[in-house]
Symmetry: C2
Subunit: 199 residues, 2 copies
């Protein structure tokens, strides 16, 4: 079982990390293959040795991000008590930690989705839908056992997803909250959004 | 006073609307000035007669969007009872209606912000901050009078903003909910996120 709270090991290879940094600064379409090679300390042919195209680099970054989020989410759900609210709390903690620790990755995976072509775009959408469905089911479990009172579990689940993914838009390392602080504070807000009664 | 619930009149000129449609399909960097001219039924020199550059078109779309949202928000706050929760409900309704009716506009204003240069970027950030501050103050009024119980009004306000702006990511005309339905259902979720006690 992976440690879903641990972000010490880098997810991306140095080449992909350099590409991600370039995309964050200049956008996918605004970054040339020459700039990506330079950022990675490679020649253009050297970069093409590793990846067939700029698009293949974006697609691989996106695939790794969505797969990592999924593996962590499944681990978080399994890792402890199986009461619905305990499962909800861990899944939300996992989503919030991911979008704080990996804010650049999540921002690019979201904002450059239109740049993904063909099967890579379908794969992204399938991964996103699978991730949403996981949360939908947990919210429904919490409603079914009376822990949450929302009349619209699917909408609450979607709203909670946007709170969590929205973290990648504003989170900056070195700000007021560290990732654990984000998870604690916004986790509570998410639970209330789904109709957790006030204490 | 403008009617902040009315979206019958188009906000954008036909040239800007055609450009917005093109940006939604292909992204700002992925769309050429030639494509923008063609979409507007103009020659390239004809388009340059109206706008100095592709960037000027994006900047004008963004400026109009942020100004329209601001005018509607101010009108919504003034338009009725001044109890804090009534003001909150109207402001959230306004934000949700805007991001459903103008989902393409809001999506581009958000996702292409990195393409905005210099003073246009600063103007966007200033407009966004002014908009966030408006909501922050209303949430704080609701906490001060005991209507909302959140311990972290600023964070709740930021989470609520992401719920509202997130509508522009998933809303599609002709889906299950119309804009008024989105406003009703997600308005309730937003109020609970800020700690409105359950009924």
């Amino acid at each position: 079982m992976i440690d879903w709270r641990d972000y010490d090991a880098p997810l991306l290879s140095p080449i992909l990390q350099a590409a991600l940094d370039s995309f964050v600064t200049g956008g996918f379409h605004g970054t040339s293959i020459r700039q990506l090679a330079g950022a990675a300390g490679l020649s253009v042919p050297g970069l093409y040795h590793h990846f067939a195209s700029k698009h293949a680099i974006l697609a691989e970054i996106d695939r790794l991000a969505m797969e990592d989020l999924w593996q962590r989410s499944v681990a978080a759900l399994a890792d402890g008590g199986q009461e619905p609210t305990a499962r909800f709390d861990r899944l939300i903690e996992c989503l919030l930690l991911f979008h704080a620790h990996q804010s650049d990755l999540a921002f690019i995976a979201f904002s450059e989705i239109r740049a993904l072509k063909d099967q890579h775009r379908y794969a992204h959408i399938a991964a996103r839908d699978r991730q949403q469905k996981l949360l939908d089911e947990v919210v429904e479990e919490c409603v079914a056992d009376g822990s949450f009172t929302t009349e619209f579990p699917r909408d609450a689940s979607r709203a909670i997803t946007t709170i969590c993914t929205g973290v990648s838009q504003w989170y900056r390392a070195g700000g007021e909250l560290d990732p654990a602080g984000v998870a604690e504070r916004y986790g509570e807000i998410c639970a209330h959004a789904a109709g957790l009664p006030m204490k």
